[in-house]
Amino acid sequence: MKIKSNTRIVEPSSPKKQGLIPRRDFLKYLGGGVLIIFTPLEACKNMAEPVRATRSLPKDFNAFLHISEDGIVTCFTGKIEMGQGTITALAQMMADELDVSIENVKMVMGDTALCPWDEGTWGSLSVREFGPKMREAAAEARAVLIRMASEQLKVPLARLTVSNGIVTDKLDNSKAIGYAQLAKGKKIEKHLNEKPKVKEPSEFKIIGKPYNRTDSALKVTGEAKYAGDIKIPGMMFARIVRSPSYGASLISADTTEAEKIPGIQVVRDNDLVALLHLSRDKVDEAIVKVKAEFSQIEMSVTDKTVIDHYLKSATKGNIINSKGDIAAGLKLSDKIIDSEFYDGYVAHSPMEPHTAAAMIDGDIITVWVSAQTPFLTRDAIAEKLNMPAEKVRVIVPFVGGGFGGKADNPQAVEAARITKLSGKPVMLAYTREEEFFYDTLRPAGLNRVKSGIDKDGKISFWDFSVYCAGDRGSDTIYDVPHQKTTVFDQGENDPQVHPFAIGPWRAPGNSNNTHAREMQICLMAAKAGMDPMEFRIRNLKDEKMIAVLEAVADKFGYSPGKGPSGRGYGIACGTDVDTWVALMAEVKVDKNTGHIQVVRVSCAQDMGMCVNPQGTLLQIEGCITMGMGYALTEELQFEGTKMITQNFDTYEIPRFSWVPEINAVILDRMDQPPHGGGEPAIICMGGVIASAVFDATGATLYHMPITPARMLEALKKV
């Protein structure tokens, strides 16, 4: 997606040569009386040397794991835990492959000084991409340890077996030695030229079994630390002078009044003016006293006119899929349906706003940050501060929700700048207003869909266009002889499209595209006089899609009915991160108020190997609950580059009273590689609710979110 001038978009930075933090330096940090999270001192002390930081995953298995003298396996990963549960799933994979108990696996996550390089926690990549590499490392470590045991016990390899980290002679169980005694807390020097195979699914003891979250004991007691909970002696709270509109540049800032508050310190560096105080209340009090002038960028687009704006500023069409001939398809058609679907700009709005704590010690800056991208954040800090990356250490403690929004971390760079300028340890926690303002929003969506049905209820052609919202999930999925997909974006001479920063929002683009496709299918089935499930099956060749649809119909207890049946049943299906997903929902619509209550939702998912069915279930429930927001209420209000939405009073996210009954089925595909689990179910929520509303009332809702006002308006047309 092309973005002009003042709009930020999250992009991975280009690879650069990277060194490492000398061991003595980071040990000094660890011992400095600073509260360090996820960094077991013992594990670090016992490590032979710190992990060499590169911009690819290291080959040496020692980068992934360390076995202490008491047998604790520390698993190092650049992935972070933001609620998605990889802290548990990765521990399961490590434990199973090594043959140790999961209780003995400790996770060290998102610390650039200790963990192997990582591109970031997004795209549901932790289990499906990092996981297999980590398993290979664990398999090699296990094979090496068994060889070491064979030498020490003087027992041939074939006679040895491993359980709970103890290698035992199958013929004489008095001959046994533990990983702890073999590794002695040191780096394992031996490596194998021929890499051993990872376990077959039939050998799994821990993978594929449901495990409760391993972090909940910390989280229910308040012990779990997030970036905002870091306390550094002498730490000052920072607030930054913010512009009233997006992309504005600072002309002047008069801090005279603010400085009258005792203890206020001002930091200035070109565009950055920050106030610091030991008390958060005092700095909050001071910041509103700053008189600042900005030169602002004017844009006339508002949340009400965004669709017209899109049509004017996204004139460059790019055909990404073409098969057959649309004109020929038109001739085959008995009925033609031409629709436009809209989605609003939505925010990630995690409960934890973007936060960073930073300190400088000598020439090394350490930043604790609520980030999905520790290594990219480190590189961004190094670049802005013109420092070598090895002098910047980023540590990501628990993250209070991300959903894609914490891929971008301006607060980390700001905190690092302020700490460097002031020499003081600094805490910069965004207010909720800053969080909405600086969020990398999910772009509004416009989809145009024109399609036809022949006399047999087969789709004769499919002409699908997506504007400005990304092409993920725009696949036709149905078996259509004549089809075309066009992506429209900002052309070279077009005005700027987005007034704000945009970025990845849980399954980026896919919610918009799946909503449009599946709602169109709902309308086509009704026009063909067919049950929407039967219509789908008739037009699908994809066996995996048929399987998830049949599984969800079974779970839901679906019985066929031509729409609108009055029952309020909706269906939607699609693919995301290589996972096949189908949802069915039942809704009730209050025709007097326009209020929609989602009564129940069922989900079926084919995600390949499912490492933790319990964790997957949590993610499905989370997707369904969160997804009700973009379907029913969430839509940011703005006027040009001014964000009107500032807090949860006007940005309504799902609440307890909304919660439907949820059930799910995960198809058994343990023989397949693992696919994504954190995002798929959310893509169907728009389509499943819109089609359920149609089934309940006969009203066609083209515009997400389906607010009561839009619902009442649509009912008038029935």
């Binding site: 933001m82 609620g83 998605q84 549960g85 409760n212 979250r213 972090d215 909940s216 004991a217 910390l218 989280k219 229910v220 007691t221 308040g222 012990e223 779990a224 630390k225 997030y226 905002g228 909970d229 306390k231 008390s279 958060r280 209340d281 709005s349 995690p350 409960m351 934890e352 706003p353 628990f398 993250v399 209070g400 929700g401 991300g402 959903f403 926690a429 207010t431 909720r432 319990q614 949590l618 429930e621 989370g622 997707c623 369904i624 609950t625 969160m626 807090n647 949860f648 009073d649 996210i653 799902p654 609440r655 307890f656 009273s657 909304w658 919660v659 009954e661 949820i662």
Partner: protein, 158 residues
């Protein structure tokens, strides 16, 4: 201006020489180091900062510390007794009623306050009582189950 404020914090009589106009949330977090109570929205809309004051769930971001003089304040850190989790905490663990965990302390404090007032809530009453606490991850279904489980255990313990 600094003054001495006396109140009960997590079961202990506490005195602090502080500016009484400071927000309870920031005093708990920065003066007392009780960082389990979270900042979420700053305006009382989300409930991440919920603590109990005289057994009532209160948004600590909306109150200055001077207001708790002579009162009993309980934060998430004060809920477990003798190293044993409170039934609400235990039920949240059992049901996996959390994901990122950021709203969790506020959820638990609010649920505890709810159960102190109504030991046998119906599902509808739980939803109503928890309605103003926001969770973005979507742990709601499990939180409702956890509150039911905690209610049973708390009654059993009496």
């Amino acid at each position: 201006m600094k003054e001495t404020i006396t109140f009960q914090l997590n079961g202990k009589k506490t005195e602090a020489l502080i500016d009484s106009t400071q927000t309870l949330l920031w005093v708990l977090r920065n003066h007392f180091g009780l960082t389990g109570t979270k900042f979420g929205c700053g305006l009382g809309f989300c409930g991440s900062c919920t603590v109990l004051i005289d057994n009532e769930p209160v948004r600590s971001c909306q109150l200055s510390v001077g207001n708790v003089t002579g009162k009993k304040v309980v934060t998430i850190e004060g809920l477990a007794t003798d190293g044993k989790l409170h039934p609400v905490q235990k039920a949240f663990v059992e049901h996996d009623a959390l994901q990122c965990g950021y709203c969790t302390p506020g959820m638990i404090m609010n649920a505890t306050g709810l159960l102190l007032k109504n030991p046998s809530p119906t599902t509808e009453q739980i939803k109503e009582g928890m309605e103003e606490n926001l969770c973005r991850c979507g742990a709601h279904v499990r939180i409702i189950e956890a509150v039911h489980t905690a209610a049973k255990e708390m009654k059993g313990g009496r």
